[in-house]
């Protein structure tokens, strides 16, 4: 069976229905958020880079957690996603470098994770699984045929969320 594979770049979102896989590579401090409605086999993967959109005219909505999550929900809802059925999983938000003497530096991952959770809660979506924090990059993949989410990191076995 020829499966479609969609690649999501940094600050972007892709969604698909049925036999497809959506993948985003090497999430560092960024966060990958998957939305999956199992009844209609609709899945989306959002890759955000920063917590909040400061300039409301900035067209890059998917770059930020706040505008990115809201826009993803809006789009997927238009394609039939129902909130009560939707499974949400998140991964990423690592701290790639440990800087001595400057604790605020490199905390962007943590801030991203906090904002993602806050916005999802405001939008009343429950996070059913997460793999965040740590000091390593992650590749995140969702199989839209069954909603399986796989996390790949270097030197560790694959993890199913």
């Amino acid at each position: 069976m020829a499966e479609r594979e969609l690649k999501v770049g940094i600050g972007d979102m892709k969604f698909a229905r049925g036999d497809s896989r959506i993948i985003t590579y090497a999430l560092g401090s960024c966060i990958g958020i998957t939305f999956y409605d199992p009844l209609i086999k609709l899945g989306g993967l959002l890759h955000i880079m920063l917590p909040n959109r400061v300039d409301p005219n900035d067209p890059k909505v998917f770059k930020y957690a706040d505008s990115g999550i809201r826009e993803t929900i809006r789009k997927l809802t238009a394609f039939g996603m129902v909130k009560s059925r939707t499974v949400v999983k998140i991964a990423g938000g690592a701290k790639m470098f440990e800087m001595k003497g400057s604790s605020d530096f490199g905390n962007i991952g943590q801030r991203n994770a906090a904002m993602v959770k806050k916005i999802l809660m405001e939008e009343r979506f429950r996070i059913s699984a997460e793999d965040t924090g740590g000091a390593y990059a992650r590749t995140m993949l969702i199989d839209v045929s069954n909603g399986d989410v796989v996390i790949r990191t270097v030197g560790k076995p694959e993890k199913h969320l």
Binding site: M49, L50, K63, V154
Partner: protein
């Protein structure tokens, strides 16, 4: 401030950055040469202003395991310096320094890891020293911090740090030539936008 983003630099300004980088990288090569007691030549660097994905493609591939050393700049120039080792350059350095080669960065022991961190730090420091002398600015450098990680993940650090200012990175692409082998470096200099304006102004091109 004249420039709002890296990509606003015109050809003349880029040329000036390239000229300075060329002197900076040759200082770095000299320092590395001394450390390894080996002749190291360096090609004239290109200064590339690239998006995240283009930078990844230029250096390697997104899930490629690399060792990266990060140093923060402060005082008259604020920003980050990042040096990325790919396995071939790392092995050439480690062979000479500790007499060992590694199949993968996952196998690095503590000694090899700190050796690479130190070499990355020396390259960054000698580059920045040349830079400060040429431009006439004071730059303080933090202690280095390193990581063994996917290339794509490493590059999200500078891209996120300056994400509210720019979506571009400044990649100084030069080749170290050791024993007739070309080894590609991965040096990124990332002043914040205010500092970039100050630098260009000091050099009289802005």
């Amino acid at each position: 401030m004249k420039l709002k983003r890296y990509e606003d630099m015109n050809l003349l300004e880029l040329d000036v950055m390239k000229e300075i980088s060329s002197i900076g990288t040759s200082h770095a090569a000299t320092a590395l040469s001394k450390l390894l007691q080996k002749e190291i030549r360096i090609s004239i660097p290109e200064v590339n202003i690239l998006g995240y994905e283009e930078t990844v493609d230029k250096i390697g591939y997104i899930e490629e395991l690399v060792t990266a050393t990060l140093v923060r700049m402060s005082n008259e120039v604020n920003g980050l310096m990042l040096f990325i080792f790919k396995l071939d350059l790392a092995n050439a350095v480690l062979e000479k320094l500790i007499g060992k080669q590694y199949e993968s960065f996952m196998d690095l022991d503590e000694l090899a890891y700190s050796a690479l961190e130190e070499v990355g730090n020396i390259i960054i420091c000698s580059y920045v020293n040349a830079f400060t002398q040429l431009v006439g600015v004071e730059i303080d450098l933090s202690v280095p911090s390193s990581t063994v990680n996917m290339l794509g993940g490493v590059l999200t650090v500078p891209i996120a740090e300056y994400g509210y200012e720019t979506d571009k990175l400044m990649y100084i692409n030069a080749e170290f030539i050791m024993d007739g082998k070309k080894l590609s470096d991965g040096l990124l200099m990332l002043p914040d936008i205010k500092s970039l304006n100050d630098i260009l102004e000091k050099l009289g091109v802005s």
